[in-house]
Amino acid sequence: MVAPTVGPVYGEKPSSVVDFSYVGIDAILEQMRRKAMKQGFELNIMVVGQSGLGKSTLMNTLFKSKVSRKYVQATAQEKIPKTIEIKSISHDIEEKGVRMKLTVIDTPGFGDQINNENCWQPIMRFINDQYEAYLQEEININRKKRIPDSRVHCCIYFIPPTGHCLRPLDVEFMRRLSKVVNIVPVIAKADTLTLEERDFFKQKIREDLRANGIDVYPQKEFDEDQEDRMINEKIREMIPFAVVGSDQEYQVNGRRLLGRKTKWGTIEVENIAHCEFAYLRDLLIRTHMQNIKDITSTIHYEMYRVRRLNENNTGAVHTNGLSDHSAHEM
């Protein structure tokens, strides 16, 4: 990433030594940066997977703080709920002057029942509800200066480390949801797989995804140019990332590192020789965060909007914004 050039420092009088043909157009980059820092950013991540796959821990590891519901809600018991619940919790985090409102949306109960038919429905409905809320605000005559963005930018799907292939539930879920939201599949608790098992599993998963026509993030069709394609191809060859999460620190070689301590060794979470957490973190946070948000707003949201506006002109509309068509689809 190229650091943008900075114009003359403010408060200083522009001296006659300054390049005389310099207009100062590139100062707009600095202006944009200032505005962005002042406004802050929003990010909404949803985590989906069976209970016990380490979703909360991974979120905490990603954001190096206690952002998941386990620590926020004072529930004494962690009972598996009878139906799927959708719980979202927001946090304000700040790093080097950059403020971010992070919302983690948890889906306890997913895939935990005996009969998991249609367990994706509440999640689809939630995602569509967020699009609906945004659309309603956008359509208002008197609308807010900055429409609050509650749309789900990214959905991390946790695949249990069976080592064989994707289960029917995984395929069904990802097939449907990849059409409305950016899905990032991860192999959870990857410390139970050896490297060979891991590679085999990943390949199998990629084949399954391809065979079922599931397009996960980064989607091939949204690559903008050659440069993008090259970067994204490398990522596509590595997904799903095999991750291990931890919020405990241990002493390793004189350094304090996040890891999991076992009798046979300590797994370092941020060591790419041990697991691919660092790649996931870099993808989600350090390089592709803006891109994830852009795809959500310019593609997924627009698709929803087109569908919704067309529906209104033709068919009946339910109160939660889903027409008969999409109800059938689900």
Binding site: M1, R34, S90, M100, Q136, I141
Partner: protein, 423 residues
Amino acid sequence: MIYNDVLLSSLDFDTGEGARAVPLSGHVGFDSMPDQLVNKSVNHGFCFNILCVGETGLGKSTLMDTLFNTKFEGDPTQHNQPGVTLKSNTYELQESNVRLKLTVVNTVGFGDQINKEDSYKPIVEFIDAQFEAYLQEELKIKRTLHSYHDSRIHACLYFIAPTGHSLKSLDLVTMKKLDSKVNIIPIIAKSDAVSKSELAKFKIKITSELVSNGVQIYQFPTDDESVAEINSTMNSHLPFAVVGSTEEVKIGNKMVKARQYPWGTVQVENENHCDFVKLREMLIRVNMEDLREQTHARHYELYRRCKLEEMGFKDTDPDSKPFSLQETYEAKRNEFMGELQKKEEEMRQMFVQRVKEKEAELKEAEKELHEKFDRLKKLHQDEKKKLEEKKKSLDDELNMFKQKKTAAELLLNQAQQLSRTKQ
């Protein structure tokens, strides 16, 4: 199914209800977000649209050339149109890695008319047309907002003639009409015509006239600490007294942009001589992004609100929501299309009618011609018959004569023979 509402915070982070501030125990890496955002914008390119309003000969084109350090138009504008027209030109500029699509709109013929009552109208219509185009795009079902070329005017430089006294009434009227639609930055053009002391009085007079007439000019924003100070200082220097020049003169050992007179040289970039540097600083280097934001968040929203209310939409009608906007817009569009079609039909009918009439006329004429022809033919035949009869009777006469002649000759022969035998 249970779900909790997503906890939304209000615009300001400080009053974020329900969102807890959580400390981070290590480096996460989202501090790269501003960089990611800036990179995306760099790849996309920027666009900036300036409108220059002012009378003919105030140096609008020259100032644009000076501001952006290029020679924009090849030939000077023709000033021979009757009314006020707006001419817009788009240029692609690049500086380091920033690509800017700059559109400069000039008012040609402003202030040239004898009756200037309607001079402001083409300008207001132009600005509204850009808003309308954006609104149309925004309301489309299949839209491409992120690749839409934004033509809305971000800044309006209003050129004030350097009379040294006060604003002209045309200026006041025009600025009043424009202040709710665009960010106005008033500047004193060709300010080398005004002396320093006169200039100070002139600026004060202009500012007080603007205030007393309730004209809202653009205020450089003072809410961000890093630029608050410089912006508030500059606010007090408005209107900027500028001089433009693309010609270079050697001063000392450097070539500088200047205007050379027999009594001295006015250096454009010398802050003691004029406020050009201040204008460039404020317009481009410090507040370009804010100008764009104000245009979108304030002026455009106002236009949108008024336009939609004018068309009869309301926010508080629960039955017709959602998408009454879309529906009614579409309905109105259909209505217009229907009217259009009706008009087309009418015109078509009229056309068909006319054709029929013409056809009937032509048929009549044809019939007449035929009749005439028949008559003439008959006449001809009659004549011919008569002639033939005459010929026949003449032939008969001729035959009779011949017969008589032969009979007479015979008699003569017989008589001759008789006389011969008698001898």
